[in-house]
C-alpha cells in the first residue's frame, strides 16, 4: 500500500535542459525570407504570411482590419464565393488576423493539398479587387457585430484601458467606433492594400510536414512577387494620461464589473523584461498565483483573475484583468493593490519561487511540443529582431532569478500609484 501522505520523488524540472529546436531560413529570389520547421507525425501544415500591415500603418480607423477581411473576397479572376469554395473544398482554413503592427495570414491544410492552395494565396496577394457589394456587406455586418460587442463589459473595458494608457490617437490606444465604420472608404482600402500588401514587407513561416518539392513550390508561387519594401514602424507618441481612474456603466442592470488595472511597461528587449515575466507569473500569471489564490480561491470574488505583460513592439503594458461580482468589485480592487504592495515589501519565499521555476520550465517544455508550437516561438523572435539567445535567456532567468532581484523589479514597477484603474459595469 503506497504512503499517500508523501509525494513521490521528483525530478526537479529545473534540471531539464530546454533548447529551442532549430528553424531553417532561406531567401526566395526576391529576398522574401522563408522560415521553416519541418516535423510532426500528422500530414498537416501551417503556413503564415506576415505583413507589416497592422492598424499602426492606417490613417483612418478601421482600414487595416477591413483590408484583412476583404482582400480574400474577390480577385480579377474569382468571386468571393469561388475563393472560399476553393479553400473549403480542400478542407483548408485561411484566416487573416489584423493586429496593431502586422497582419498574419494563416493557411492550415492537409499537406497533400499545398500545391492546389498556394497559387490561390498568391492570387490574393497580387490581384485583390475589393468588389463594391462585398465592401458594403462587410461594413453593414461589422457595424452590427460591433453593436453587440459594445454591450459586453469585458470588450469595452479592454478598449477603454488601451485608450486611457496610450491616448486616443495612439495606435495601441485608438478604438474603432461605429462612426468610423460608417465613414470607411473603399479608396482608403484599395490604397492601403497597394501600399502594404502589394508593396509590402513580407516574411513567410511554415511548419509541419511536406514533400521534397516544398521549397520549389514556395519559390514558384512567391519568389517573383514584386514585394519586400521594408516598412519602418511609424513613430508613435504616448501622452500623459488624461484620466487615471474611471468608472463606466454600460448596463445599469449588469451584475458584474469588468476590472482593468494597468501601466505602460518597457518593451521586451528591456533588461528588466525577462525578470518581470517571472514576477508576473507569481503575481497573477498562473492558477496558483497570488491574485488567483487570494481573490478567487480564498474570497470567491471572481471566476478568474490574471495579470499579464502584453507583447507590442513599441510599448507594452503590465495589467491585471478580472470580471467580479458588482458588489465585491471594490473589495477585489483593494486586494489587487494589497498583493502588489506585498511583492514590493517582502521577498518571495524560496519555496514559492521554486514552484514557479518548476511550473514555468514544465510550460516551456510543453510549449515546444510539435512544429507549430516551435514556430510560434521563432515567429515571435524573428518579428522582434531577436534570436535564440533570447529564448536561452528566458530559460536562464526562470532557473536563476533570485528573490532579491524580483523584489527590485517589484519596487521599480509595481507601485500602485503608477497604475491606471478602470471599472466597467
Amino acid at each position: 500500500m503506497p504512503d499517500r501522505k508523501k509525494a513521490p520523488a521528483l525530478k526537479q524540472p529545473n534540471a531539464y535542459e530546454v533548447r529551442l529546436p532549430a528553424c531553417e531560413k532561406i531567401e526566395l529570389k526576391n529576398q522574401v525570407p522563408l522560415f521553416y520547421v519541418k516535423g510532426g507525425a500528422e500530414p498537416v501544415v501551417q503556413i503564415e504570411w506576415v505583413l507589416r500591415a497592422g492598424n499602426i500603418f492606417e490613417t483612418n480607423k478601421g482600414v487595416a482590419a477591413a483590408v484583412a477581411a476583404l482582400f480574400k473576397r474577390g480577385t480579377g479572376k474569382k468571386s468571393a464565393f469561388e475563393i472560399s469554395r476553393q479553400f473549403e473544398f480542400f478542407g483548408a482554413s485561411f484566416q487573416a488576423a489584423c493586429q496593431a503592427e502586422y497582419v498574419v495570414l494563416s493557411l492550415e491544410t492537409l499537406s497533400k493539398y499545398i500545391g492546389e492552395l498556394l497559387p490561390l494565396v498568391r492570387e490574393l496577394l497580387t490581384d485583390a479587387i475589393f468588389p463594391d457589394d462585398e465592401f458594403e456587406l462587410y461594413r453593414q455586418n461589422s457595424i452590427q457585430h460591433l453593436q453587440v460587442y459594445l454591450k459586453k463589459s469585458d470588450f469595452v473595458a479592454d478598449r477603454e484601458m488601451g485608450t486611457m494608457l496610450f491616448g486616443r490617437n495612439n495606435p495601441y490606444g485608438k478604438k474603432t467606433a461605429i462612426a468610423d465604420l460608417d465613414k470607411l472608404s473603399l479608396t482608403d482600402i484599395k490604397n492601403f492594400y497597394e501600399k502594404n500588401y502589394l508593396d509590402g514587407d513580407l516574411k513567410i513561416f511554415a511548419s509541419g510536414q511536406w514533400d521534397k518539392d516544398f521549397v520549389e513550390l514556395m519559390e514558384h508561387n512567391f519568389g517573383d512577387l514584386n514585394i519586400g519594401n521594408k516598412k519602418v514602424l511609424p513613430d508613435v507618441e504616448t501622452q500623459e494620461p488624461e484620466i487615471r481612474k474611471n468608472d463606466l456603466v454600460i448596463d445599469s442592470n449588469g451584475v458584474q464589473a469588468s476590472i482593468r488595472i494597468a501601466r505602460i511597461f518597457p518593451d521586451k528587449k528591456h533588461p528588466d523584461f525577462q525578470k518581470a515575466l517571472v514576477l508576473n507569473t507569481i503575481f497573477g500569471g498562473y492558477f496558483g498565483s497570488r491574485l488567483q489564490s487570494n481573490i478567487r480561491e480564498d474570497k470567491g470574488y471572481t471566476y478568474g483573475i490574471y495579470s499579464y505583460l502584453q507583447f507590442n513592439l513599441k510599448y507594452t503594458l503590465w495589467g491585471i484583468s478580472t470580471e467580479s461580482g458588482k458588489e465585491v468589485a471594490d473589495a477585489a480592487i483593494s486586494e489587487v493593490y494589497k498583493e502588489m504592495v506585498r511583492l514590493t515589501k517582502e521577498e518571495v519565499p524560496e519555496e514559492e519561487l521554486q514552484l514557479v521555476r518548476n511550473y514555468s520550465i514544465g510550460r516551456q517544455l510543453n510549449g515546444l511540443d510539435g512544429p507549430f508550437r516551435i514556430m510560434d516561438w521563432w515567429r515571435m523572435l524573428i518579428m522582434n529582431d531577436l534570436d535564440e539567445k533570447y529564448f536561452e535567456e528566458r530559460i536562464r532567468t526562470i532557473k536563476t532569478v533570485t528573490p532579491g532581484e524580483l523584489l527590485e523589479i517589484a519596487k521599480k514597477y509595481l507601485k500602485p500609484e503608477d497604475f491606471l484603474e478602470l471599472k466597467v459595469v
Binding site: E42, Q140, N141, G362
Partner: protein
C-alpha cells in the same frame, strides 16, 4: 493511425495507454462518466460545481494544484451534460506525481466546508460572467427548456438557476461523490513519453486499492417524440433581433450521426456554405448565421442561430431559413459539395491529433462511447456518407413538428 493499449483493474477502472516517445511530456486524463444529465432536477449545476470541488483537497493531500506545479505540471477540467473530465500535463519523469494526486481524489475528497463555500461563489461568478452579464446570455437556457420536456438536457451544465448552486450542502457533495466518482465509472488515459509496463505498475499501485463501490446505473427518462412545433418569444435589452431554431437529432452513437454532422457543415461550414451564401450574402437578411449540433451522447439538437440585419423582420428571416431547409430536402448536394465537407472533416480530424493532449482526450471520449479505437475508424464512417444519406437525414430532422423556435427581440 494512433496506437494505444487497454487494460482494466480488478475494481473496474479502465486504463488506456498511448505511447509517444517524441515528446518529453506526459498527459494523465481521468474521465468520469457523470455529467449534468445525471443531476437531480432540483439540484442542477451540481456536476459542474463538483468539478470545482475536486481541486479543494483530497483525503490525504491538502491541496491538489501546488504539488503538480512543483512537478512542472498544469491541469484543468471541464464538465458537459454527459461527462466530467480532468486532465493534467507534466514532464514524463514526474508521471507518478499525477497518479498520486488523481488516485487520492478518486479514493476520497477532503469535503472541506470552506472549499464548498468559496466555490459556490466562484461558480456564481462564472454563471454571471457567461450567462447573465452577456447579451443573449440566457437564450440557451430558454431553448433547452423549450426543446426538452422530460430529458435532463433541458438544463444547462452550469445549472438552471443560481439558487440551485447557492443552496448546495456538504451532504449533497458527499452523496454525489460516492455515487459517481467510482473506479468503474472512470476511464484513465495516460499518453506521452511513458511505457505500458510503467503505467500498469503505477495504475495498480495507486488506483488498485480503491474500493469498487457500487456502479451507478443510469436510468434517464427518454424524451418523447415531439409532435408539434414549439415557439417562444422574448424581448430584452439587446442591440439586434436574433432567432434560434432547433430540432431533435441523432445521438452520438447513432449511425445517422455522421450524415447529421456533415449536413450542418453543408449548411454553414464557412463562407461557401448554403446559409451564408443565401441569407447573408445574397438576400442580406442576416449579419451572421450558423448551424451546428450539440454532439451529445443522448439524442441532441441541431441548431440554427442568426442575428438579423437591422430592419429585417424576424418572421421574414425565419421563412427564409425554412426555404433553405426545404431546398436541402429536395435538392441533394452535388458530389463536390459533399466532398468539400468530407475534406473539411478529414482535415480537422488530422489537426486535432497534432497535440498530445487532444489525442489523450479523444481516446478517453471514444472509449466512453464504446471503443477508443473509433479514433482510427471514425473517418471511414464519415467517408461512407452519400448524398442520399444527407437528404434523408435532412428530411428526418428538419420537420416542422420536430422544431422549436425562439424569437429574441430587441427592446424598442
Amino acid at each position: 493511425m494512433i496506437e494505444f493499449s487497454r487494460f482494466s483493474l480488478a475494481n473496474g477502472l479502465r486504463v488506456i495507454v498511448h505511447e509517444d516517445h517524441t515528446t518529453p511530456m506526459a498527459v494523465v486524463n481521468v474521465l468520469y462518466d457523470v455529467g449534468a444529465r445525471d443531476e437531480n432536477p432540483e439540484k442542477t449545476g451540481f456536476a459542474h460545481m463538483f468539478e470545482h470541488l475536486m481541486f479543494g483537497g483530497s483525503i490525504n493531500i491538502p491541496v491538489y494544484d501546488s504539488p503538480l506545479q512543483m512537478a512542472g505540471g498544469e491541469n484543468n477540467a471541464y464538465t458537459t451534460s454527459d461527462l466530467t473530465d480532468y486532465y493534467c500535463r507534466l514532464p514524463a519523469e514526474n508521471l507518478e506525481t499525477a497518479f498520486w494526486l488523481e488516485s487520492d481524489r478518486m479514493l476520497s475528497l477532503a469535503f472541506s466546508r470552506k472549499s464548498l463555500n468559496v466555490q459556490k461563489k466562484v461558480v456564481s461568478e462564472e454563471f454571471k460572467e457567461n450567462f447573465i452579464n452577456q447579451p443573449y446570455g440566457d437564450a440557451w437556457h430558454k431553448l433547452r427548456a423549450l426543446a426538452y420536456r422530460v430529458h435532463p438536457y433541458q438544463w444547462m451544465t452550469i445549472g438552471k438557476d443560481l439558487s440551485h448552486i447557492e443552496s448546495a450542502r456538504l451532504q449533497d457533495v458527499k452523496d454525489f461523490f460516492f455515487e459517481h466518482y467510482t473506479p468503474a465509472n472512470a476511464i484513465l488515459t495516460v499518453a506521452g513519453n511513458v511505457s505500458l509496463d510503467q503505467v500498469k505498475s503505477l495504475a495498480e499501485k495507486w488506483f488498485g486499492e480503491i474500493p469498487v463501490r457500487k456502479k451507478y446505473e443510469r436510468h434517464l427518462p427518454e424524451e418523447p417524440v415531439q409532435t408539434e412545433a414549439r415557439f417562444l418569444e422574448v424581448t430584452a435589452d439587446v442591440p439586434l433581433d436574433a432567432i434560434y431554431k432547433c430540432w431533435h437529432g441523432f445521438s452520438r452513437t447513432d449511425a445517422g450521426f455522421y450524415s447529421m454532422d456533415l449536413l450542418t457543415d453543408i449548411l454553414s461550414g464557412g463562407n461557401s456554405s448554403r446559409l451564408y451564401q443565401s441569407l447573408v450574402k445574397d438576400k442580406k437578411l442576416f449579419s451572421s448565421i450558423s448551424c451546428y449540433h450539440t454532439g451529445s451522447i443522448d439524442p441532441g439538437m441541431v441548431v440554427i442561430e442568426g442575428k438579423l440585419v437591422r430592419g429585417v423582420k424576424i418572421e421574414d428571416g425565419d421563412a427564409a431559413i425554412q426555404e433553405e431547409l426545404e431546398k436541402m430536402k429536395n435538392n441533394p448536394p452535388d458530389s463536390p459539395e459533399l466532398q468539400k465537407v468530407k475534406n473539411g472533416t478529414e482535415s480537422s480530424l488530422a489537426f486535432e491529433d497534432v497535440s498530445l493532449m487532444n489525442r489523450a482526450l479523444s481516446l478517453a471520449n471514444y472509449e466512453l462511447l464504446g471503443d477508443a479505437n473509433y479514433i482510427n475508424t471514425e473517418w471511414d464512417l464519415y467517408n461512407a456518407v452519400t448524398t442520399d444519406d444527407i437528404v434523408s437525414t435532412a428530411k428526418k430532422i428538419f420537420r416542422k413538428e420536430n422544431s422549436s423556435t425562439l424569437y429574441y427581440r430587441k427592446k424598442n
